[in-house]
Amino acid sequence: MGDQLPAIIVLAPMFGAMFVALLGNRDHRVCFPIVFASLLISLCASIAAAQQVYTTGAIDYFMAGWEEPIGIGIHLRIDALNALLLVLISVVVVLVSFFSIRRAGEQHTEKTPQFYVLYLLLCVGLLGISITGDAFNLFVLVEVSSLTSYGLVAMGSSRRGTHAALNYLLMGTVGASFYLVGVGYLYLMTGTLNMQDIHAILQANDAVSGSTAVIIAFLFILLGIWIKMAFFPLHGWLPNAYSYCPSTSACILAPLMTKVSVYVMIRVMIGIFGVEWVFVHLGWSHLVVWLAVIAILAGSMLALAQREIKKMLCYLIVVEVGYMVGGAWLSDPDHWGLTGSLYHILADAMMTLCLFLAAGIFAKRLGAVEIKDLEGLFKKMPLTSIAFVIAALGMIGVPPTAGFYSKFYLIRGAIEGAHWEYVAALLISSLVNAVLFFRIFEIAFFGNKPAEGHGHDDHHEDESETQQGQVGDSTLLGREPAWSALFPLLTSAAIIILLGLFNGPIVELIRESLENLPSIVATQAD
């Protein structure tokens, strides 16, 4: 069993998807147990694998024993760089699966099995992207995750959702194709698709790594990934896609898709081309950091202009992507920027998850789509509010949340790499975040008409009047949501704080992976 962990991580949800497809149509009730079981298997396997990685070193796994990097033998690799990400992904998908319980039952009554099939396949794609050691397989898995996410976005009843999904598809496919072209050039130059082999050849052969073709390859790959991660100004598809899709879809896509793409970028930078080559040979560091600065500032401004909660959160994702891209490219001597980016992948995934879960709950329980609908929120659902506040403080960067520490490391990297423009952008965006969220808190606390709360203590009843939302059942309103929604929300909020408090050990693991770069990229002995 222990040897097969990498395969189990990916295959469990895949078989789960098959079972759901086979059995789900007969009886919708079997869907969730299958989904949950397969995701739990993935989670346990990733935790076990991570433990193994950090005690004994990287795990290389060759599907069906095709050891040689000939052709397209499937090489899975778990090392210090992606072990944490795997755990993160599996934690998020398990949490969101709880959230899906009620949603899937209500909104897609006829489509429950289809929804879960897509959900599980998305997990396969995301886990696969993180775990694969092969540049072409990465493309396939990116497309697996993208195709399923087009489906998940389009699943809702909103007309805008369909339109957004098609736009997302067009942009996403173009992005993936760019990536594929880049991989083609790399293959042309090195004759292999295995990331480690490519890296070894580029390291060993200055003529190849110095050629224009490799730079073009890198450019195409970078462009492709940037489209996938919605790096400003290539973000056009994201806000509509994530805000007009069903809440559960948003909760799974928003935290993971962009973050996994950031991981891919870092993996490509470190694992294929090599940090040295990217930072020293190319010397694009300043350019990309400036692009990131623009992304952060523009995203912040766009977020300020939004009235809808989810739209605002979507633009915040664009901002956070700017953080991570900029951080990864800071090129400071001790790689604190890369550290910060990798840590921020974890932190931001959790914060985004928490915020989108909360937004989903607001939409359902209060019918709140726009910020102004959140009147009296703190009294109506105190627990949900607490989680929402924690995530918001994380986005602002208040200690001891994870968001503060990721900023700490990013700014440290920026100072050591003398990228003051990035420091300024990060701080400005923190301030904008503060404005954004306190605008919400104000409305939640004061209401839209001031002085509305004046009066006696503890009056809940008079506030539970029916909202204009789509969900008509007034008995559901004005109270906390069901445990299935509350549990993932509170868990993610707790993780945000724990991740912050115990940032030391986690960052130590990340540092280890960055300090032992050679071990990440070394060719396996054959």
Binding site: E68, P69, I70, G71, I72, F136, F139, V140, E143, L147, Y150, G151, A154, S157, S158, R159, R160, T162, H163, A165, L166, L169, L170, T173, V174, S177, L180, V181, G184, Y187, L188, M189, T190, G191, T192, L193, I201, A204, N205, A207, V208, S211
Partner: protein
Amino acid sequence: MADFFQNTLHDHFNYWVYVILMMIGLWAVIAKNNFIKKLIGLSIFQTAIILFYVSIGVKVDASIPILHHHEEPAAHAEGHDKGHKADYAVGEKDDSAPAAHDNHDSHESQESHGDHDHHADAHAVNPDLIANPLPHVLMLTAIVVGVATLGVALALSQRIYKEFGTLEESELLEQLKGGNVDG
């Protein structure tokens, strides 16, 4: 000028075609108003990439990559070794650098050979005689992915047509702007 035609256009003819097709496709995706036309553009775009990959794998006078163990296709070999002038990107062997156009080619392929020599020895095949199957295999996968994407895209377009009664993006945006969003 003649050199230009010979070296840049003629020798890289299919690469030029791939670039032009790719640009046409991308232009259609971005500029066309009709969703179906956008999707056609997308298909052209993807097909261009397939052309690119297939071009990587081409080798003049090479045979199909089916290995007969210990059975050198001798007749072929001699004639080929002399006459072979890599017109197109040619894979030296199935898993080594097909970077035939680079000046440092010989040096590099030497290296790559070194890396995986035992593999070549084990089968004792002359890689010049065998077309590189890998790009084709990759493209089979890419085609499948492309077909799946197109399928999803067409399904979405169909739904858009049902919901909006149009496939023109401008009309659709107009409807969305005019309120009454989720009918």
